[in-house]
Symmetry: C2
Subunit: 421 residues, 2 copies
């Protein structure tokens, strides 16, 4: 008797990006070509736990193809972290039970550091329980903090958005500086690592170009040194543009965003480094300022996504399926940089046990000695990641994205599963 | 004896836009074709007062052509308002003196409401003093608040940026809402009029699409009604996206941004409606939120500018010169909408005395009865303004803009002019 062809389970995890659906597109298109049915978890791993599966085989090919151009997570993502085997035993068992009920032989998890840890744990458990399951982690994170992969899909597009925005704003600021606003502060994501802040540095090709100052979470915020630098910029260039990571901290180790501000309800306002930095400058140096907080705009901006990032996101989804069919398991797919000029890359893989709980930090030689900008080495690393454009179709002046039908798979398990709070 | 051919003076005024340089491009290219030399004011009208003129005739044609793609104000703009004839007598006289010294017979002022008032006053004074001067105002303002013109160059591109961003963010928010962030608030410019906030409404083509709620400065912020609407959206759509104008006020007439927040220096933080609205929701309804403040990003975003806006900005500069050469004076050029579907427009003009101190408000029938969205009438008005794309050239993954050489014209007047504080 021939074994029934196994189905695949795919889920998106954590904060979404403008290209995570591109990975889904590559994965589903490749699985279809190989006759593998893909069930997606509705709202990520929650879908596996609650047996809330989406049958992507019922989705028209055109919709799947359009995922390439659609930001956000088309099947829903979630912030739901599985702990170790003891603490989350019932959850791991439930996942395998659901997989078993739906003849799932392939598990693809598309997320950041925590997700790869989850894949690894499920892989281990499936071996212990004798349930044959091919487990593959696919990187996705704008934070760019996964090890062993040259970059993480999602990051290059944020980098392109931030560098583009900073360059544009620089032209605006310079026009106004003689009689009005002299300071502009842009707050960007990246609480623990300065990759996104660093990417703003790509906008400056010559000395004096914007941004003038980058504030990295890796560098202690030294108020005095910072203010001296701002003042110097204004005197030299007539204005000063600053890109601040949301995660900068002062000498006492306190997040600047926590220094805060007491709001109308008597609560400390968290978040909002940009206004704090701007007001500090106004208070100490007297310069007129503007500030912006990009927040979700930066990670959703599919209209200005990087073609390189899109190509890599697609290739990761595609290759993940190919690896799975070759019998590789318990791996994370990676991007391997083969050369810098011209930038050449390929897809590779790494065993998950090596990946789990390793964080990729900004190398210290990526930050200039004064702590306020990126070095040539950083520029060389980042620049290839923002190359090329591949915008969505515009109709009526606006980008056209795809909303999937997302039909449910009929449930097969009687017991409901209660999610932990 | 044949009179010496007159030169033209062109200045940019007030907050710049992503297409004000496109108007400069249309104006200078047309002047060149007609043998008129254009002097630009360095930093706007300040350049006229201080005799700091830029000789645009020395700028290579390629640079002028590239102005079409470059955001900000290429000659510098300023916030410097001339008052009435009595209060600012010395300034008006100085301007005419500088014009006389440089054989200037055409005055083009590219700005918002105040600028057209200035043009009008200079026109009057030149007549009184018997100095022949052709005076033409050219609209520019993202606020879209000038009368008699269908729209103002700069606005359509902000509208396209905001609608695009809101649509993108909507896809992001929906992915996360099941287990995480349910609220997203985007703060947009427009302190007195809700045109920019309204433009976000273009992103929603069907009920339930983003943004779910728009907060207009024209509508008193009713906390209770607002919170009920937010809660309803979350229950109905799983999440709620809100676009808030920076200028919204409560029942007491106080700007929400002034309700503020006491910062680390003990000062009231102004600005930042988005965090205030987001925290109000968290406080009263308990939903997790994200917020963004677009600030300068929205008006500098040349990469996603509206082709319609760009075409109109260029045509205004071009036609301003043509009108001047036809002998029209003391006018503001306007955009005239000839039909809606298809959108057809032409350039027209209006006498400045009719323009001065008239503000174009949002018609009340552009806002839905509940005060939280735009009507079909508004959609029909706004939609044509964001049609088409005309991105700059991208190189190394980033948009390429032009920095002009901006050579100075030799000064001819001995006395220096001291600017008022």
């Amino acid at each position: 008797m021939v074994a029934r062809k196994k189905n695949a389970f795919y889920a998106q995890s954590g904060g979404v990006t403008s290209v995570i659906n591109t990975t889904a597109c590559g994965l589903i298109e490749t699985a279809r070509k190989n006759g593998v049915k893909v069930y997606a978890g509705r709202n990520g791993i929650i879908g596996a736990l609650t047996e809330d599966l989406i049958d992507t085989s019922k989705e028209p090919a055109k919709n799947i193809a359009n995922l390439r151009y659609t930001p956000g997570g088309a099947f829903g993502s979630c912030r739901y972290k599985l702990k170790n085997h003891e603490q989350s035993k019932s959850e791991y068992e439930r996942i395998l039970k659901v997989f078993d009920a739906h003849n799932i032989g392939y598990f693809f998890y598309n997320g950041g550091g925590d997700s790869h840890d989850t894949v690894h744990k499920i892989s281990q458990l499936s071996q212990v329980m004798g349930y044959p399951l091919t487990c593959i982690g696919i990187p996705k994170t704008i934070d760019n903090d996964l090890p062993f992969t040259d970059t993480c899909p999602g990051f290059g597009s944020v980098a392109k958005y931030i560098a583009t925005s900073v360059r544009e704003v620089g032209y605006d600021l310079e026009s106004m500086a003689a009689s009005s606003t002299k300071i502009f502060v842009l707050e960007v994501m990246g609480r623990h690592a300065g990759w996104i802040a660093a990417s703003a540095g790509l906008a400056a090709e010559r000395i004096g170009e914007h941004p003038h100052i980058i504030l990295f979470p890796e560098i202690i915020f030294d108020e005095e040194k910072f203010l001296a630098k701002v003042d110097n910029c204004v005197k030299k260039f007539g204005c000063c543009s600053i890109v601040a990571s949301e995660g900068i901290r002062n000498k006492e180790g306190i997040f600047l965003s926590d220094l805060g501000c007491i709001d109308a309800f008597g609560h400390v306002q968290l978040g909002g480094v940009a206004p704090i930095v701007a007001k500090l400058i106004k208070h100490k140096l007297g310069y007129k300022y503007h500030w912006a907080v990009a927040d979700y705009l930066q990670r959703a901006a599919r209209h200005i996504a990087s073609k390189t990032d899109i190509d890599q996101a697609y290739a990761m989804g595609k290759t993940a399926v190919e690896y799975a069919l070759q019998g590789k398991s318990n791996i994370m797919v990676t991007i391997v940089r083969k050369s810098n000029k011209p930038y050449r890359w390929t897809i590779g893989w790494k065993m998950l046990e090596e990946v789990a709980n390793v964080e990729k930090k900004m190398p210290l030689d990526f930050i200039t000695r004064d702590g306020f900008h990126i070095t040539n080495a950083c520029h060389e690393y980042l620049s290839p990641l923002i190359q090329g454009e591949d915008p969505p179709l515009f109709k009526n002046g606006l980008p056209q994205f795809t909303k999937l039908k997302n039909p449910s798979v009929r449930k097969k398990i009687k017991e409901e599963f209660k999610l932990k709070k």
